[in-house]
Symmetry: C2
Subunit: 232 residues, 2 copies
């Protein structure tokens, strides 16, 4: 399939040195792959990425010194277009979600078949993403769960709809941390007018102060922005 293409340069990072050897042998059988490095250290791995600029990094997320997710972030920050395939012993949805969130191109379990690993590598090298069906389901379950509360509340009555367009402008400036003077200056109106608007906003949103108003705005999709219940 890829026989005549340039060999893909691969870097392996896995804290288990036996497993590291296993993958290494397996990949060496594939004539299209060229292993440029294999290490049990996340930090060394990052340096090897800088040095050899592999097309793809196969990264274990259970590393001793530095956790794999952090290593992924640091590799992503290099801006080298290095594709990262996560190799993990856990099918924890949160772990899958976070890995994909920070830029991984795929996530496979250590229990997978060697054929599946090769398939995953090829898909990712072709510019696609790869998640096995079971992990994909876990990902989407978690993904949808994290938005469920939002979907429910967005259907309820949103007090923001009662605001006039001018009040929305004022609230927008409140959500940017402005005080009365700042808002008055930006809207070219007097401070007392701003106070009037702000007081009307409080009434309509049924809150007591600006902080609560800002929180209500952010939690209710103000300005087409929403808060996702997603752990960092």
């Amino acid at each position: 399939m890829r026989e005549f293409k340039k060999k893909a340069r691969i870097l392996l990072v896995d804290d288990n040195s036996e497993h590291l050897r296993g993958i290494k042998e397996l990949i060496t059988l594939e004539t299209n792959y060229d292993i440029v490095g294999a290490t049990t250290s996340a930090n060394i791995g990052i340096n090897l990425v800088k040095k050899y600029r592999p097309e793809i990094v196969i990264m274990d997320v259970n590393l001793p010194e530095k956790d794999g997710l952090q290593a992924i972030q640091e590799i992503e920050k290099l801006g080298l277009d290095t594709k990262i395939l996560v190799l993990s012993g856990y099918d924890d949805p949160d772990l899958i979600f976070r890995a994909m969130k920070i830029g991984a191109k795929g996530y496979v379990l250590k229990t997978m078949s060697s054929a599946q690993l090769v398939y995953a590598i090829d898909e990712i090298l072709a510019g696609k993403f790869y998640l096995p069906s079971a992990l994909s389901s876990r990902f989407f379950d978690y993904f949808q769960q994290s938005f469920r509360e939002e979907n429910e509340t967005s259907a309820e009555e949103n007090l923001l709809t009662y605001l006039t367009s001018r009040e929305e402008e004022v609230l927008e400036l409140l959500t940017q941390g402005n005080n009365y003077k700042g808002i008055a200056g930006k809207l070219f109106i007097s401070e007392t007018t701003v106070k009037t608007h702000v007081n009307n906003i409080f009434q309509k949103l049924q809150v007591n102060d600006r902080t609560q108003a800002v929180l209500y705005a952010l939690n209710n999709g103000f300005g087409k922005r929403v808060r996702a219940k997603i752990s960092a």
Copy 2:
């Protein structure tokens, strides 16, 4: 494969009546499916869901009166465990993302093969999610893009790390809209102590007032919550 199982009840919603007939015929060929309804109206579709409680709804997202996404949300709100497969003429990442966000179990293009449609239906009936490889890539590109800004900023210096644990508690209560008195009461300390903490928080976060402090906290992953740049 599913020959001996109970027939899956399917509802079709598509504004194009010709396309509706086409899918209907195609699905009727499958002995395992039972079409309980087919309509060009989103509102009628929702009522048919209530009436027949199909296992799966194949939903076009380009509907005239009510848009498909809204219809999906209303069906989800019924809490009937109805699985929804989106059928769309567009591979727009935002559309795919929003459909999956609000609970769709799959998304396929109208240009797909009939075999792929049947495969998608079977996967979803089996409790899985289904996105064709190309759409999956679009989804994840969009998904990662929406978190890119956050990933970048989270790597920068986060002033929140300078807060003491007590200051974090105070800030947490600030992000819930409490005033001095409320915080003092909840932490069983005096109001003046709270003022001291809050002032120290302002210094450390380099802000001037509580609203700005709250905004900084929310925008910098305070309390394992992050703000996703995702359009509603």
